[in-house]
């Protein structure tokens, strides 16, 4: 029992610390910079997985993340989760996510995010997979999504108030 508890705590700590340690990686296409694409580890048989990125537009015109694709899943969609008056809901984001000039938009846990629907395999911590993001103006860019611990959420500095999130 005691050793189980210690082992459990070690695993929990690993889950906690991993996302902070995971190497940040970034991609640039035109005036669009994509920071640290990551996806959450999935339980077995999970029919969906969330993908998260931070996008910065250093240009003078707005751009939009309109769609994407990956061989990891049957479908790539952009959805937004919300909790309003204690009720959780999730809807596809129509028309994609706008990134205003100079803005940074975080697609994060609990907000707008990428949905990998019907993944071909379970998402395992430490692995990565490629996906192509398609921007209206900047065009397509292929990035690697790092798979991180199940308890992971966006780094704290990404929380709150950046740029324009679709509402």
């Amino acid at each position: 029992m005691r050793s189980n508890t210690i082992a459990g705590t070690a695993i929990a700590l690993a889950i906690l610390v991993m996302p902070l340690k995971a190497t940040a990686h970034e991609y640039t296409i035109g005036t669009i910079k994509i920071d640290h694409p990551w996806a959450r580890v999935t339980p077995p048989a999970a029919p969906v997985a969330g993908g998260y990125i931070t996008i910065t537009n250093s240009g003078t015109e707005p751009d939009r993340l309109v769609s994407g694709s990956s061989s990891i899943s049957q479908k790539f969609e952009i959805h937004e989760s919300k909790v309003v008056d204690g009720v959780a809901s999730m809807r596809p984001v129509v028309g994609g996510v706008e990134i205003a000039p100079g803005a940074t938009v975080a697609l994060k846990s609990g907000g707008a995010h990428i949905m990998f629907i019907k993944p071909a395999k379970r998402f395992v911590e430490g692995e990565k997979f490629p996906a192509t993001l398609i921007f209206e103006k900047a065009g397509p860019v292929t990035v690697d999504f790092a798979i991180q611990g199940m308890g992971a959420s966006a780094p704290p500095e990404n929380h709150g108030g950046h740029g324009s999130m679709p509402q």
Binding site: T5, T9, I15, P44, G50, V87, A88, S89, R91, P92
Partner: protein, 232 residues
């Protein structure tokens, strides 16, 4: 029967009918879920959160309120097509239960799927294997699911999407239920983990299963009411 008496009977009947209508509507209005919050524990028994339910565990066993009688338990609603809140709630619970160690044996967390159509038992069994084995995944027939949601005053709704798919809206947050089967408060996964751990500790300490089922009466914070203080 004189006129005054007739009037009295009529007036009291009207009050009773109006009261009945109010009670009847509370908690069943779609789009206006009666969300339990700390401090809404009712002493009159009207619209109380908690009560009977009958579902099947992810391991295929029948599971009812009798299985958690005399023991604190947690209830939350979710579904496996949810990429965010549902798996993170389960993994947070797993982390907290690991932190609590053997103390986590003193309460039972229940996940009730609001999507029994897609969350069949085999899938739920596989899904739950990623989390603390003390967490019980529950599913039911559509009728059993609806009845369980009514019991816990939870809201859920199937929302069709383009292309024939659908998603589920559902009550977020974890309900904390005392050993006496009564609603104590909510645990929100957005709260700091220390706050959530403190809530769980208070739940198990103030709801020791050795207490008789109905005593002591709990106030909304899960503390024994002064007039029913029971010494151990």
């Amino acid at each position: 029967m004189n006129a005054v008496k007739i009037f009295r009977v009529f007036a009291w009947s009207a009050v009773a009918i109006a009261g009945g209508v109010l009670i009847g509507f509370s908690g069943i209005l779609p789009g206006a879920p009666q969300l339990p919050r700390s401090g809404t524990v009712s002493s009159s028994g009207v619209a109380a959160v908690g009560g009977s339910f009958e579902l099947t565990t992810h391991k295929g066993q029948r599971f009812t309120d009798a299985d958690v009688a005399g023991k604190p338990y947690l209830v939350f609603f979710g579904f496996t097509f949810c990429p965010d809140i549902c798996p993170t709630t389960l993994s947070e619970l797993t982390i907290m239960m690991s932190e609590l160690g053997a103390d986590a044996d003193r309460f039972t967390p229940l996940l009730i799927t609001v999507d029994p159509e897609r969350d069949n038992q085999e899938m739920l069994a596989e899904y739950m294997s990623a989390f603390d084995s003390r967490i019980v995944g529950l599913r039911g027939t559509p009728e059993q699911t609806a009845a369980a949601a009514r019991t816990f005053k939870a809201y859920y709704k199937k929302v069709p999407l383009d292309g024939g798919d659908y998603t589920m809206d559902h009550t977020a947050g974890v309900l904390l239920m005392g050993a006496n089967g009564r609603y104590i408060g909510m645990m929100d996964m957005d709260e700091a983990r220390e706050t959530r751990i403190a809530k769980l500790r208070r739940l198990i300490e103030k709801n020791d299963p050795r207490y008789p089922r109905e005593h002591p009466k709990m106030d909304p914070d899960g503390l024994p009411l002064p007039d029913t203080e029971v010494s151990r």
